[in-house]
């Protein structure tokens, strides 16, 4: 646990000293959401419902940029080799990378969800719950993203390969998150809410379990 603390300390300090990058990432997510908001007529009754999907898309896009960067900088500076050659357990490295990414994505999410209410309408009372749902969805997304971020890190086509690998895997999370966001944020019930929760938690568990198990092999060369 002490080592995990040091890994998080290192990532947090690095992140805090490059705040301009975090600001750019939030801006990117906001611009994506604003652009998508123009896809619907201003008076459309479907706006709150579609907004639930659009906010998730913006979170996924911003997360992909973060997954890519997380390992790219470690490889570029040679520190990933340093970590691989150290007595550190690969599971700890995975967990620390995933938690550091989660922190960044949480900031993006906390900024985006209230804006969804602004641009797409819906229930103000549901914003808190909607942030929680988006974070729960992001947890699974981040597990897969950290794994595949490490896989494609040194590939020349990483920018394209990462979404190709990642997006199909997060379809269950996407279905669950959008269903729940539509309910809590848009006040629209899309099928069973309890099934949405079950789907989200089950696929989060699957994403974390599989990623932790596979990460050691991914790091190996």
């Amino acid at each position: 646990m002490k080592r995990l603390g040091w890994l998080l300390w290192k990532d947090t300090l690095t992140e805090a000293r490059s705040l301009e990058r975090l600001g750019t990432l939030v801006l990117f997510a906001v611009v994506t959401l604003v652009t998508l908001s123009f896809a619907l007529p201003p008076d459309s009754t479907a706006r709150p419902l579609v907004g639930a999907g659009f906010v998730w898309i913006a979170i996924v896009f911003a997360s992909v940029l973060e997954f890519r960067r997380s390992f790219e900088s470690e490889r570029k500076d040679g520190t990933l080799d340093g970590l691989r050659a150290s007595p550190l357990d690969s599971t700890l490295l995975f967990v620390s990378k995933a938690l550091s990414t989660f922190l960044v994505v949480a900031i993006v999410t906390a900024a985006l969800v209230p804006l969804t209410r602004l641009f797409f309408g819906g229930r103000t009372a549901g914003i808190g719950a909607a942030i929680g749902i988006a974070l729960l969805g992001a947890a699974g997304l981040i597990a897969w993203g950290t794994l595949f971020g490490a896989v494609v890190g040194s590939s020349r086509a990483a920018d394209v390969v990462l979404p190709i690998l990642l997006f199909p895997l997060v379809v269950p999370q996407t279905i669950a998150v959008v269903r729940l966001l539509a309910c809590y944020l848009g006040g629209v019930t899309l099928g069973s809410v309890s099934t949405g929760w079950l789907l989200l938690l089950a696929f989060d568990g699957l994403a974390w379990g599989t990623s932790v198990l596979l990460f050691e092999y991914v790091l190996d060369e």
């Binding site: 080592r3 290192k10 300090l13 690095t14 490059s18 500076d77 080799d81 340093g82």
Partner: protein
């Protein structure tokens, strides 16, 4: 009988169709300081990476202090100074040292690192990030990082590259004092090995 610090037996390493290491054998006893020379692309760095466990050999075996390199207790005894300094650019030199000491579980690593930075003419209280350092300063910090855990075996890849004479002297003084070392370098002036090997055709031979 003393266990060899490093025992490399029949190691092949291929990159695609290119065979970089070819049935390579190497035994390094505790207390040996080995220098490996050879032309660029001859496989020196690949050999160091195989010993450090960063690359798997295509064939053959590597044992360090009688154990597998994947064993955390073995890794803890190795200090690595790779060609790239392996430092976090947004952290200061001492923050880097503190971090790596903690990762290696070395309780007095930070204090030792502070002293090493001083001996390498770097200020441990300098709060500037490593990214603002010159290449030579980064190289010296990387050596302090590799030695701060008081390793039993040091693997160093071109530790004298990008250094002015005084910096090279300071690093050489430290490397000449380590227990066991394998150093890849073209610099024959500073490091004083107990054995000199040269890489030829993917194998190691005694150098003239």
């Amino acid at each position: 009988m003393d266990v060899a610090a490093v025992e490399v037996a029949g190691v092949d390493r291929r990159y695609g169709a290119t065979r970089v290491l070819s049935s390579l054998d190497l035994s390094v006893a505790s207390g040996d300081r080995v220098v490996i020379t050879g032309p660029n692309g001859s496989g020196k760095t690949t050999l160091l990476r195989v010993i450090a466990g960063l690359l798997r050999p295509t064939r053959g075996s590597v044992r360090v202090f009688g154990g597998e390199i994947s064993d955390a207790s073995v890794r803890r005894r190795i200090g690595i100074a790779p060609h790239m300094p392996a430092l976090y650019p947004r952290l200061s030199a001492f923050e880097n040292i503190r971090f790596w000491s903690a990762v290696y579980g070395s309780p007095d690593g930070a204090a030792r690192g502070r002293e090493l930075l001083r001996r390498l003419d770097l200020d441990p209280d300098d709060t500037r990030p490593v990214s603002s350092y010159s290449q030579g300063m980064r190289q010296r910090t990387a050596i302090a990082r590799a030695l701060c855990t008081d390793p039993d075996l040091v693997l160093a890849d071109e530790p004298f590259a990008a250094l002015d004479p005084s910096g090279a002297d300071a690093i050489a003084a430290l490397l000449n004092g380590v227990r066991t070392a394998i150093v890849v370098t073209h610099d024959r002036e500073h490091f004083h090995p107990t054995r000199h090997l040269a890489m030829r055709g993917g194998k190691l031979v005694a150098a003239a």
